[in-house]
Symmetry: C2
Subunit: 393 residues, 2 copies
């Protein structure tokens, strides 16, 4: 019998910590793990291609992360950053550590030489030995942009790179919506579709739903592959007791009009079709519908969102659930189908015990303690998620 294969959709540090538990459990059961990681946060700064989420996962699983700071390398130094500032090189608000710079130099050099990001990631992981296979969601460029009010009254709106909004502005600028520039032209990275096809379980890590998980699913064909998977799809809530486990997910959820609660996020993801054995015909219908819903393109005045075909964050993969939350800022799908529409993501939803009971139409909801306080606690969460997926090991 082939070993169990677990695919995890993951963002940065939340995904990384969840993956520590997945890896530990997999080691004890002989399972194989593939992490499909968000690249929407990626940014080119000072000519360097920076992949914050991939690096967070790689450093964390490789034992090189700064656990206290929550991002970047342990024992980091800042000489390069200081020198760049001495040159007046913008931007100065991004934390570019010396150790981290080396990763970006290797990555950028390989990308410039024509290697796809998936191959570059594999090469970097040859050093870090993360113990799970790390794949970027796509080898193409997908950039999460945030549409905000342009400075000055009545000046309309503009799009800024996610990192500028997240780090420079600490997510404090009210976001009108998120745009995943390039997502419609992007294809799943080499290995992603194969991993999903071979999956025995697809876990959605407790990552930011709006800017970590949604941009993964926005990649053309990726969400369809998840929807078409014969494996159960189980999500773990990143919200406990109405607050994000870490980070500023609440601000992202507010921007797309989703209540910051385990129930709100569960409805945001929505139920996958009840019949997982349904053929691709159904998925195609869902896909066509989704395309219609994303027909409302961003009309940004910013330079950075010029491309057509950008997707907006409005429900995972562009569907908005029909839950009771406000639609402010959401490009909602006003079609007739309900929360059990073909566009949903989940078969199961794991919420914290403090949040139970939660009811999501069409989704089986369990509860368990979800604080990832240490690896043992995280292993228990992963075990609960696999139980929910019907995979007891």
């Amino acid at each position: 019998m082939a070993p169990m294969h677990i695919v995890v959709l993951a963002g940065g540090i939340g995904g990384a910590r969840f993956l520590l538990g997945v890896r530990a459990l997999a080691r004890s059961t002989g399972a194989e793990v593939t992490a499909v990681v968000n690249v929407g946060d990626d940014v080119v700064l000072h000519g360097l291609r920076i992949c914050p989420d991939l690096d967070s996962v790689m450093y964390t699983l490789g034992g090189g992360a700064d656990e206290e700071r929550g991002w970047g390398r342990a024992d980091e130094r800042w000489t390069v950053k200081e020198e760049l500032a001495a040159y007046g090189a913008e931007p100065t608000w991004f934390g570019l550590g010396d150790r981290d710079v080396a990763t970006h130099l290797v990555r950028t050099t390989m990308l410039d030489a024509g290697h796809p990001l998936s191959a570059v990631t594999e090469a970097l992981c040859a050093r870090w030995q993360p113990g799970v296979r790390l794949l970027p969601a796509t080898d193409d460029r997908v950039e999460t942009h945030v549409v905000v009010d342009a400075p000055g009254e009545g000046r309309g709106e503009q799009a800024i790179h996610f990192q500028e909004w997240w780090i420079r502005h600490r997510a404090a600028l009210p976001a009108r919506r998120f745009v995943f520039a390039g997502a419609e032209q992007a294809k799943p990275a080499a290995g992603v579709l194969d991993a999903l096809a071979r999956a025995d379980a697809v876990l959605v890590a407790p990552s930011n739903p709006v800017v970590s998980i949604a941009p993964i699913l926005a990649v053309s064909g990726l969400r369809d592959a998840v929807a078409a998977s014969t494996a159960p799809v189980v999500g773990v809530s990143p919200i406990i007791g109405g607050a994000p486990v870490r980070g500023m997910a609440d601000r992202c959820l507010a921007a797309v009009g989703v209540e910051c609660s385990a129930a709100g996020v569960g409805r945001f993801y929505g139920a996958r079709t009840g019949d997982r054995t349904a053929g691709n015909g159904d998925r195609t219908a869902g896909n066509g519908d989704r395309t219609a819903s994303t027909g409302d393109r961003t009309a940004s005045t910013g330079d950075r969102t010029a491309s057509t075909g950008d997707r907006t964050a409005s429900g995972a993969g562009a569907h908005t659930s029909t839950g009771g939350h406000s639609n402010t800022g959401v490009h909602s799908n006003t079609g007739a189908h309900g929360s059990d529409d073909l566009g949903g993501l989940l078969d199961g939803w794991l919420v914290d015990t403090a949040d139970a009971p939660v009811s999501i139409p069409g989704v089986e909801v369990h509860d368990a303690p979800l604080w990832m306080t240490d690896e043992t606690a995280t292993v228990a969460i992963v075990r609960a998620a696999l139980d929910l997926a019907g995979l007891r090991r």
Copy 2:
């Protein structure tokens, strides 16, 4: 009356130290200084455009150089280099300091954005305030390659980048010849021809004649502009008592069959035409002759010297003086003209007192103490060179 304008042709650290003296003298006399700096040593490593000679001059004049080590930044750190090595990223033999990396990041980013190297250098100098105008010899790519024996007996020859020969092999691989790849297609950088046209004196710094000064003059049109200048051209010997002031110039001179002596280098540079008021017709003749002499292209088997039109180092600007040195490895000009041919460089040649007397046909030779032990000593050298140029201030 316009201030005196001094143009200095310079390589790396030797040129930088000479320029400290030129700057000091210029400050006391109100003179303007333009340094035209070699870019043949430039190399792209880890995706970064590195300009060792420009940086040596910029850091030295800007007070940021490591004086003891003789290259790179003071108080340098090596975290990035250690991390690159941890990734197994080649090459590992190049000294890429953390502070230095920031310079290269700014430069590479600006070059990628389309700015010419001259503009990038000016931008970097906004921080360093070197007090003289720094110009690369060219905004185009000129790379000094070294043709060496291919590994394995009877395997012919191969070309390696100058940095690989100089740093990795410590110039210990016997060099057959030097090739300035790209020189014939290259044009003088913005500002170079104007600076030469306005010069009251052109000084050739005591830099490596073969791999610092020759690649400057190999840039198409640059040597002609020097030859056509109405200003006197005075060189300062980089050889004292038969040994290079610093560096491994002896190995470079040996490769092109030039005696490692003040006299040998003086003859290598050769005499400019005796009549500096001669019109361009004469220069054109000289140029035609030089082109013929460089018709013997390198037939390297290395990938890096594929371009046609590369120039070889055989006399400054491709003429070989008719002095008594061996022609081993030299693509010599076997034409009928003598050492006072139109292709020579110098009107005056300053040698160390220990080397006097030296006689170079057609060149006025003075002697003075040439050890640049401190700025005062260097100022005296510059003063002697300007005296020789007939500019007593």
